[in-house]
Amino acid sequence: MITVSGLRYHYPETDRPALDGIDLSIEAGELVGVVGANGAGKSTLCYALTGYIPHFFGGTMEGEVKAAGHDVRRTPVSQLAADVGLVFHNPFNQISGARYTVLEEVAFGLENLGVEPQAMRARALQALRATGLEDLAERSPFTLSGGEQQRLAIAAVMAMQPRVLVLDEPTSQLDPAGTRAAFEVLRGLARTRETTIVLTEHKLGWLAAFVDRLLVLHAGRLVADGPPRSVLAEAVDQPWGVGATQFTRAVQAARLRGLVAEGTMLPVTLEQALEVLR
């Protein structure tokens, strides 16, 4: 559903490539997390998968990105939007400012796709229900809290039912209950609709619990790609700046004291940690 080959990208007037030789293939229905230090290229990858690079950001792009059957460089963003959705890092940037209510805001993207009014309302309401915003449907988008705006941004893109959904730190403004709900919605989309989902995130515990596959970006390169546990266990000994859950850190500290066998793979989740320690 997504293939990236030989992707190199420079933002305008920069010397160092933001992405430096990315090769990647993602199947339909996969839920993939992307981690890495700030500045490693996570947001840039999000833009590249959705055509914002090079269409909006300019710069120099080498290589090829295909998403939902489109060569993103050769497809206008307006046409890509039906199949490939992006939820921006800062939800405040996503709100159109062109609509008075939350419901209209969600319907806005659908109008642009030419969806029938009846179907449009149903799809918008369904997206609001899924993100827990149903009660706020008639409010102005600008009266929402940061967390609510972030859920609105997700709802607006969800309603378009893209085959590929890319989200840049979609839970940064959400509390734990909101974060759990967002991850459940995303997993549901991947499982039931076969939506292909790529998201960047700093919350490693949530990623470990929900994603199928984890990518690590470091200085513009893809340095690890695999199941969350093995990737995060490896990351502990690497200079990638990915961090670790406290479950990982606790067992790592125990291993240093010889309380856990040397070759034990470090755990990432609570269940894995208990299994190692019992």
């Binding site: 890495g36 230090a37 700030n38 500045g39 890092h89 800062n90 809290s145 940061g146 967390g147 730190e169 940064s172 403004q173 959400l174 509390d175 734990p176 209950a177 909101g178 700093h202 515990g205 700046g241 990915v242 961090g243 670790a244 859950t245 406290q246 479950f247 850190r249 606790a250 790592q252 500290a253 125990a254 240093l256 004291r257 309380l259 609570l270 940690a273 208990l274 320690l277 019992r278």
Partner: protein, 268 residues
């Protein structure tokens, strides 16, 4: 510097009651984390402490005096505030200018202002960005600029609203070290946070809020082990607490190293 809320109620003009009878005393030099779901009243509470809001009923005392009798400018000398969204507070054309603005308003000499700016940027790890335009920086870095601006004021009280959001692992670690150091210097710290792992490691006291009330308040290892109470407040217990509870431990630990030490003791 002591801060005190006595039977405080706060109702927004929309009719929403954000705080419904809150009593809280924060002694000089304490590090308190406020936790709870979005809408629990945490931000309202801290805005009462720096005078951005005044209580609908009850009393808020900063340094023994009611905030009602002090202007926001007066309170700003005591209480520094770092917003969750840096764009709510940044305005200058360079990072240096941004951070120097507050100290200039305190009528400090040039040399003192320069020293404070450099120290504050060093504290947040942004020394190299001093001549940049704040809006050329990424959001997490802008947050650190906002934090540096507050640090440069040398206020006895510092309030941080969700400091770790958007920071990567290294950024969170640096913030933790900074919190520890400010505490060692005797500053009073109050932080709103959803990051309970951070909270457990760096804040000695925690108050759990829900629906405009304080549900629990005490030493962080004691409060954060009350898993049922935390879940009731829609708060996820710290990972080390989940681990200790999962192993059936009665004692709580605050760091991975302490966890390993405790594990070693149990096996001897």
């Amino acid at each position: 510097m002591k801060l005190e809320l006595r039977d405080v109620r706060f109702r927004y003009p929309t009719g929403v009651v954000a705080l419904d009878g809150v009593n809280l005393t924060i002694e000089s030099g304490e590090a308190l984390a406020l936790v709870g779901e979005n809408g629990a009243g945490k931000t309202t509470l801290v805005k009462l402490l720096n005078g951005l809001l005044r209580p609908t009923a009850g009393t808020v005392l900063v340094n023994g005096e009611e905030t009602r009798r002090q202007t926001v400018a007066q309170l700003a000398r005591f209480v520094g505030f770092v917003f969750q969204n840096p764009d709510d507070q940044l305005f200058a054309r360079s990072v240096r200018e941004e951070i120097a603005f507050g100290p200039h308003n305190l009528h400090l000499g040039e040399a003192e202002v320069r020293a404070r700016v450099e120290q504050a940027l060093d504290d947040v790890g942004l020394g190299a960005a001093i001549e940049r335009h704040p809006y050329d920086l990424a959001v997490p870095e802008r947050k650190l600029v906002a934090l540096a601006a507050a640090l440069a004021m040398h206020t006895p009280v510092l309030i941080l609203d969700e400091p770790t959001i958007g920071q990567d692992a290294q950024g969170v670690e640096r913030l933790g070290a900074l919190v520890d150091r400010l505490q060692a210097e005797g500053r009073t710290l109050i932080s709103i946070t959803h990051d309970l792992d951070f909270c457990l490691m760096h804040f000695d006291r925690v108050a759990v809020m829900a629906g405009g009330h304080i549900l629990a308040d005490g030493p962080s290892p004691d409060v954060l082990r009350r898993v049922d109470l935390l879940r009731q407040a829609q708060v996820e217990p710290p990972e080390l607490v989940q681990l200790a509870v999962g192993l059936g431990w009665a004692t709580m630990v605050r760091t991975p190293e302490a966890f390993a030490a405790q594990l070693a003791e149990g096996r001897n």
